[in-house]
Symmetry: D2
Subunit: 396 residues, 4 copies
């Protein structure tokens, strides 16, 4: 193979490209996680994550990938054989359900078509029917990474309240946090799950729970047998900026740098940037004559866009062609939509020109792979960028 020149376009829906500033932060010499200098690092990370989750309640940081934080949410807040209501938004919702089963919970799955977010009405209806309050938690995926659909989390909260149901609201925002709007306290979320390698622009390796006082209380008297994931010991140690066991120190260095970058740009600007890039990407897809997997208007993700392949064409063959010829990594279709969709990541540390480079990789890749499409997608995206102000740039 010939060595490729230039920077690889890593346009999968996570890991997203890590900014140089964060890579440099990560490459600092490790320090004693029990020494006096560490407390500042720990506190900065914990407080910083509260600002990102928009919560005044608790945040827990694990040396683990997002899958671990999923498990942590379940084993702390719930007990074996607890019934949980989950919503099938896509592959990751299904994986979380599978994990719940492995851990001894009794998940009930509201079927979905993978083409939109969770439906608050369906949740409300089910909760109303649960007169004995057997359901202990409602679990939804905020930004379904496999489909590019966003669930209306605030409305799910309203649905639970409307049903007068005490279930906890647990939200996977692994790929939503720090890219699209998320408000832990305002939206009344009880447990949120997130990871480092998406909107937080870090390499994978640390993950997060945000925990409401209600969920924390539930964990103090209940929860499953657990040790590594135990919120209680974490919370106790975190009070002074330390951790009960060795944290992933260098990723915390990077986390603090990434959070600083997010606040320098401004979280609202970050969200607006992602929305604008999502809109530009969908304009390109429409022009190509392809279909966006998410078909519920207003629920299309600012993080990624899943695109359906024309019948009879392999998404994976197309992705391999794009990778080979244009050095771009695109996300694959997962389980039900394997080989039928490809996913364009437009999250994290990217800008307008990188987005157009990305869409060019798709358009030229489609051409090279012989996938039927209309030209002009890149043009259509450029028009969107041209007609909408980039967030945070003052008009002249």
């Amino acid at each position: 193979m010939t060595q490729r020149a230039g920077r690889h376009f890593l346009q999968i829906p996570g890991p997203s490209p890590v900014p140089d500033r964060v890579l440099r932060a990560i490459s600092a010499q490790v320090i004693d996680h029990r020494g006096p200098d560490f407390a500042g690092v720990g506190r900065q990370a914990l407080d910083g994550m509260k600002s990102v989750f928009k919560t005044r309640q608790d945040v827990i940081i694990y040396p683990a990938s997002g899958t671990g934080a999923w498990e942590a949410a379940l084993v702390n807040a719930l007990s074996e054989r607890d019934r949980v209501l989950m919503y099938e938004t896509g592959h990751f919702a299904a994986m979380w359900k599978k994990m719940a089963e492995k851990l001894g919970l009794v998940p009930e799955f509201i079927a979905g078509d993978w083409r939109g977010g969770a439906d608050p009405d369906a949740i409300e209806a089910r909760l109303r029917a649960d007169r004995d309050h057997e359901i202990k938690a409602v679990c939804v995926v905020h930004n379904e990474t496999s489909t590019g659909s966003v669930s209306p989390v605030a409305e799910v909260r309203q649905a639970i309240d409307a049903a007068g149901h005490p279930a906890l609201l647990m939200v996977d925002t692994i790929s939503g946090l720090a890219s699209i709007d998320f408000r832990f306290d305002d939206w009344g979320v009880d447990v949120a799950v997130s990871g480092s390698q998406k909107g937080l622009m870090l390499p994978p390796g640390i993950s997060f729970n945000a925990v409401s006082d209600k969920a924390m209380a539930a964990s103090e008297t209940g929860g499953m047998r657990r040790s590594y994931w135990d919120w209680r010991e974490m919370k106790a140690s975190n009070a002074t900026g330390y951790f009960p066991y060795t944290p992933a120190t260098n990723l915390l260095f990077g986390l603090n740098e990434a959070i600083a970058m997010l606040h320098e740009e401004g979280l609202e600007n970050v969200f607006a940037r992602h929305q604008r890039h999502g809109a530009a990407t969908r304009a390109a897809v429409r022009q190509w004559g392809l279909e966006v997997l998410c078909q519920r208007q207003g629920q299309e993700s600012g993080v990624l866009t899943a695109v359906m392949m024309p019948e009879g064409h392999s998404a994976d063959a197309f992705r391999a062609t794009a990778l080979k010829h244009y050095d771009i990594s695109l996300g694959n279709g997962l389980s039900k939509v394997a080989d039928k969709v490809f996913r364009i990541g437009h999250l994290g540390d990217i800008n307008d020109l990188t987005l157009i480079g990305t869409l060019t990789g798709v358009e030229l890749g489609l051409r090279k792979a012989g996938v039927p499409h209309r030209a002009g997608g890149v043009d259509a995206a450029m028009a969107v960028l041209d007609q909408t102000a980039a967030p945070g740039i003052a008009a002249e």
Copy 2:
């Protein structure tokens, strides 16, 4: 506070100083952990760790700290209410036992005085008495990081065999691996637990299980409810160089570099270097008139040396003085020996001159803190270094 000049002496028993080569490897741009380039990274890491564990059986890599790998060992190989025989070598043995209890196992603790490794005879006697083979595993700590004592793992294996007992042998070599001799296959270990931030010279954030075929078989039919830690899914994905969930990619970059460095030096040279530095350190301690915590000859660790403070003197006050005046981090005494011992780390990426700098920090720190001691410890250590060949350097 005044900014300190020069490089901090991070001489705790882990994290050990990360070599520049490893820091640079970690700072490479993240890649798609599902893409074609990743398989080589994954396979190199898995095969490399087998070479370090000296096993042809399985190695599992977790995005987690060592505590997670402890949990993984227990939840995969054992079932709730299983009886396990553990040996109280020190704080970490006690922590592992506490974890076993939290996870629903029934640990039985052979009491120890924290001044040596596990006693094979005591283990053999207990196993002989367990005629119904209720004990499912024997758990020992290879290198007890809290005391600086090494357990004779091979002899523990012999003890189990001599007792004709089928219990699994589970070994915590979190701080032993890649610093002192460890031979997973030769010694008949069933599950080994290790971490990245000790002899492997990485920042914390990934950890390891080595798993014998016998333990793997046990996990396939038994084990506790588990998901994140499940060996079965790991093993299945690892076969092609991938992982069932997102790995800590950048730490794997660093791991591959660190393993390369270990083999460039030669594992046997690495072990000899650590032994020599342990001997030099103990010579200094003896000259100071202080006592080494480990009092079983031949079980003193090449990784760290725990030193007992003279009666009436605070180890933590001394450590704070050494840190303030000589910019050196030393390890603290844990639980039973809190404030009574301090620990000198001499593991990982250090050489003769760094060791002497370290011992100087201790000796001058003792002086500055007013701790009674005899001068000349550094001299005594220099004499040991002078009289013993540095491993891997040909005589002239």
Copy 3:
């Protein structure tokens, strides 16, 4: 100002974006430039640069920017009051001439219109007229960074030979080397000048002379008063891999990495990539209805494209708009063409998608700045990329 997200597009004609591999190489700890380990570094750099210049004769490496290597060429090979024939290809040719004057040479400038490379016929005519061989050197710029025109160096050599003239051929290939074809030995160049921050993909700070045996001989008996730039001491020290005074060690680390990358890709692939990107860029410019500054067919540069602004529009105002809105740096017009042209760098570590991102920054910037142009330039460039094979990628 709002912090900008994503990677800046540094699309000036040098410095070009430095690859991560090179940045990491540069960040290694410095070593003793008189110690035994240095010789390998020095030799690798010197031999590597010979392979890049395509010469078996001498290469000299200075801790200096390209301007220093210009001076070195003049002061070593020529003597005060020597007459030199220079060709006005653009700003940098004019700067080199100005330097020659400052150093006491007597440059004679063949006027050019800044819209093409040096004209071999004009050179030949002038040399034929110089019957007394008062002209000691012919100086041409290989790739004129201010205009994007390439001089036909081999034909200049033929012109000198056809005139039967003994003048040295001195070539500035500061921005040409390692981006477009250059062959020191084959083309009969006597002194070549280059720098690190263009095709060599390094930060600025080191620069180069390639020196023919004939030029070296001239310098041994002649040349001006000189010390820092003296080839003789350099050559003597270089023989063993060392330098007569302290070299820029860390940039040499980076140089060795960059040369390795060039050879991994293959120099011919590197050249073809630059040609293809130049062609795509010119297609965009034509579609925009703008004029490429270089108007001699076959002399358009693969390194950069200088674009003329429509009458009455400020190139600098446009560049400021593009920078503000699209975070892209474009090159400015210099001296005679200040504010009248802008320059698009397409050199060094870039790939197809980065190029399209770049051209998008130009097209959207033109729109935002209200510069009259036809849309579709990006499309036109995409068509060129689509219709031409990327070098080094096997057809399927």
Copy 4:
């Protein structure tokens, strides 16, 4: 060869070990040195260097090593055939004189024995004798890197003034600046020369002139033919934070970080630290029974200590042994004292424990190489460190 573990001890008198913070700063992506963001970088570097030189007059920064800044000082401030009075403090004074000759100056050398700094009385006497003021400059080396002696620069100024002589005072403080006290304005220096790889803790590649108004005025009407080194163009461009030709951008990033570190520690603390380490080193040398090359009390350098070998023993053989066995680089003896002295660098980013590690490398190296000496040098140095307060650390 076996791979060496641990960090190399780079204890030559420059390059000194580069702090991680500086290496990370250097590894940032290059920026457009003509773009709007650069001005801040340039101004910070220029102003920062003024604070380090302690001057309100001009500072010039070259992309060149210190040798280049030597040349710059001479060609700007002096004219061909000018007579300059130089003082033979050691090898570097002799090299500067040799350069002056190559450049067409007429240096007059006051002979020295290489065992102390420049003698103000001798300078005064010579200047008094120069009634016609033929001498245009007095050149002294502040910290003679080859001998470890410091010239009393302020007294040289007084000597010039006492003689009523108009000569410029030119000072090489390549290895003195930012390690030992230097005050450009207070001491009435006219031109100072420095480099990056000593007290400034950078890799080599940039160098400096500080220029008094008097010297600048001299250069405006005089000076030799010059271009690269021309102060006038530098000064004009620098006014806005830019440079007349491409600067070594990434080294400027590092310079700004290094200057920040120096001010965080406090320049006076930096100087006190170097003095203390020099004193500790000399105590070790005396205990070994060896002789310090500098024999003028009060002129011993805080930067390095040159040590004389016992008769009949090769300094270079000893250095090779120390390097092989203890992975420490020591400086060699130069020209007149080649193989007769070795030099211990104790400059830049080092602390007490690194110093003791260094002296241990010397002491054990002497032993290993069979060089006669008294043991206990390390002890003697420890005693000095113990008895003197580390600068900047408050007493308890």
